[in-house]
């Protein structure tokens, strides 16, 4: 790898944990159900970026591309299910507050 590539690689590798931490922080602090899902999405985007970077740097971008496309499909399924859950939760409680869904204690 050339020096430029190494710097670029470090940039990607640093970005992913930062996005992961932002996502975790969003999930832990928010009081809004939809914001929880957005936190999950931020983490997932970080991983997508990491996969793309890994494919670029080990010289197999076509494989990374197919992985990312499969990942996006799976992600959409999970998002649809979470949208359904949120829809029903809001119907039950009539608000988007996460404090409503803290009845079960681990």
């Amino acid at each position: 790898m050339s020096l430029e590539n190494i710097l670029l690689f470090k940039l990607y590798v640093i970005t992913m944990p930062i996005m992961f931490l932002i996502g975790i922080y969003a999930i832990m602090t928010t009081k809004n159900i939809i914001a929880t899902i957005i936190g999950i999405e931020i983490m997932t985007k970080g991983v997508t970026l990491l996969l793309a970077a890994c494919g670029y740097f080990n010289g197999r971008p076509e494989m990374a591309q197919s992985f990312i496309i499969i990942m996006i499909v799976v992600e959409v399924v999970i998002l649809t299910i979470s949208a359904g859950l949120i829809f029903n939760i809001v119907k039950k409680h009539d608000s988007l507050d996460t404090r409503n869904i803290r009845n079960l204690k681990g």
Partner: protein, 470 residues
């Protein structure tokens, strides 16, 4: 039977059920799905051939070994019990139909997970199973089940992100994601920091999916809030497959063992065993107690894996099989109680042994097996785990495993005394034994527990040694 059919048949069944030209009723769907489960269970005894033309057309590249076959058998038994309990408990036709479709999709994902030899495909199949589980938990759309399902979704998504970043790093270093390439890469770079981080991330992700103790928050909630057939299915096989089977598969066929990874596994397993058992003692809800007991038993499986020998792996896989059987049996009993008594607090029950003799007896056998009393199946697998730890010179952990067995006995004795023994509580005079379908399932699972225990030498040679030769 060609093994890729185990993935394709459930998928085609779901398609076939949902074609717009006719309407399939819930009962017929249950019948066809349970027929498929029986065929899958018997395919364990048939010689397995290579890929058939249909699967070559779909370009499925699967491999099958002893562990996969044992897991296929376990999955079939648990799914069959869950379907029969569904038949007995659920009377809405539409709900039955939706249930069967989701369980079939989940079965397709699970059977695929047993055959794949590629870490990215592992991710895909785990997500198939997980996404069906979210819907299954929330299928009644009441407040608690929606909350439990949402919690599971969030936790599981975090786990998925961890696993995917691990997969990305391994893909970066190895250049491909199939087991052979990664295994040879790992032998070359086993000391590399990036690779170690990747493996630890993968382990933590799988611990979240499997509900090992510090990451167990979602597990008791989802077992509690889910309807009874789903609890059986989740506790019996889903968490065991997505979390623990994948862990065993990764270390058995990809990474191998070294001392640092072993110590991670052993420490988390010990925490899970001891604290899971203590938490189970304090519970008053039947299903919640079973959930914590499940966490504790999962700890045993991981402990057996942590011994780091092939004998340890064999012990772990055997305990996984036994645990699936007797934990499903206990959840079937809880379903019977839920249906007949309609109370879930153990303090409000009492003296039900005279009214529900079959449920009471099978639950005694199940908990004796869980606690490791000879000659039942749980005794042999726990003995194998302890022997594996002892021969691997991890005597402290073997000792903890023996002591924690007594804790297991404690909470189950408390349960049995509160629910079944003693004087009959007032208001329970008219309670009858559970419907035929439920008692049939509990007798079947009970028979498996006893038979595996008594014919252990044959099982050891025929089942375990063919799965993992040691």
């Amino acid at each position: 039977m060609s093994f890729s059919l185990a993935v394709l048949i459930p998928l085609f069944l779901v398609l076939f059920f949902n074609l717009p030209f006719y309407k399939v009723s819930g009962k017929i769907a249950i019948f066809i799905a349970s027929l498929f489960c029986i065929i899958q269970a018997f395919s364990f005894f048939l010689p397995i051939t290579a890929n058939c033309p249909i699967s070559q057309y779909f370009m499925l590249d699967f491999q099958c070994d002893g562990i996969s076959r044992l897991m296929l058998l376990t999955t079939a038994i648990v799914a069959f019990s869950s379907l029969l309990v569904l038949y007995a408990l659920e009377d809405t036709d539409r709900k039955q139909f939706n249930f069967v479709n989701l369980i079939l999709l989940s079965l397709a994902g699970m059977n695929g997970l047993f055959f794949v030899r590629d870490i990215f495909s592992i991710y895909v199949f785990i997500e198939v199973i997980a996404s069906t589980s979210y819907v299954l938990i929330a299928i009644n759309k009441d407040k608690n089940s929606l909350e439990a399902s949402f919690k599971y979704l969030v936790m599981s998504s975090v786990a998925t992100v961890m696993m995917l970043s691990s997969i990305a790093i391994l893909f970066l270093v190895a250049g491909s994601t199939d087991f052979v390439t990664i295994s040879s890469m790992y032998q070359q770079y086993s000391g590399n920091t990036l690779v170690v981080v990747a493996i630890v991330l993968f382990i933590v992700g799988l611990f979240i999916k499997g509900g090992v103790m510090p990451f167990h928050g979602w597990l008791p909630d989802s077992y509690l809030a889910a309807p009874a057939p789903v609890s059986i299915y989740l506790a019996g096989i889903v968490t065991k497959t997505t979390g623990i089977y994948t862990l065993i598969r990764l270390f058995y066929s990809v990474f191998g063992f070294n001392t640092s990874i072993q110590s991670i596994l052993l420490i988390f397993a010990t925490i899970s065993i001891v604290f899971g058992a203590f938490a189970a003692i304090n519970q008053s809800n039947f299903k919640r107690m079973l959930a914590y007991s499940s966490i504790s038993q999962v700890g045993y499986i991981v402990l057996g894996l942590g011994a780091g020998t092939t004998f340890g792996v064999a012990a772990a896989i055997f305990h996984l099989f036994n645990h699936s059987i007797f934990k499903s049996l206990l959840f079937v009993n809880s379903a019977a109680l839920e249906k007949q008594v309609n109370v879930s607090d153990m303090n409000e029950m009492g003296g039900l042994a005279s009214k529900m003799p079959i449920t009471s007896t099978t639950s005694v056998i199940a908990f004796l097996s869980t606690a490791g009393i000879p000659p039942l199946s749980g005794f042999w697998s726990k003995l194998m785990i302890i022997l594996a730890l002892w021969t691997a010179d991890l005597k402290v952990f073997a000792f903890i495993a023996i002591i924690a067995s007594i804790l297991t006995m404690t909470y189950f004795l408390i349960m049995q005394k509160k629910v079944f023994f003693g004087k009959l509580k007032e208001g329970f005079e008219n309670i009858k034994e559970a419907p035929l379908a439920i008692t049939f399932v509990s007798i079947l699972l009970c028979a498996i527990t006893v038979v595996v225990g008594i014919f252990f030498p044959f099982i050891l040679n025929g089942l375990i040694n063919s799965a993992v030769s040691f």
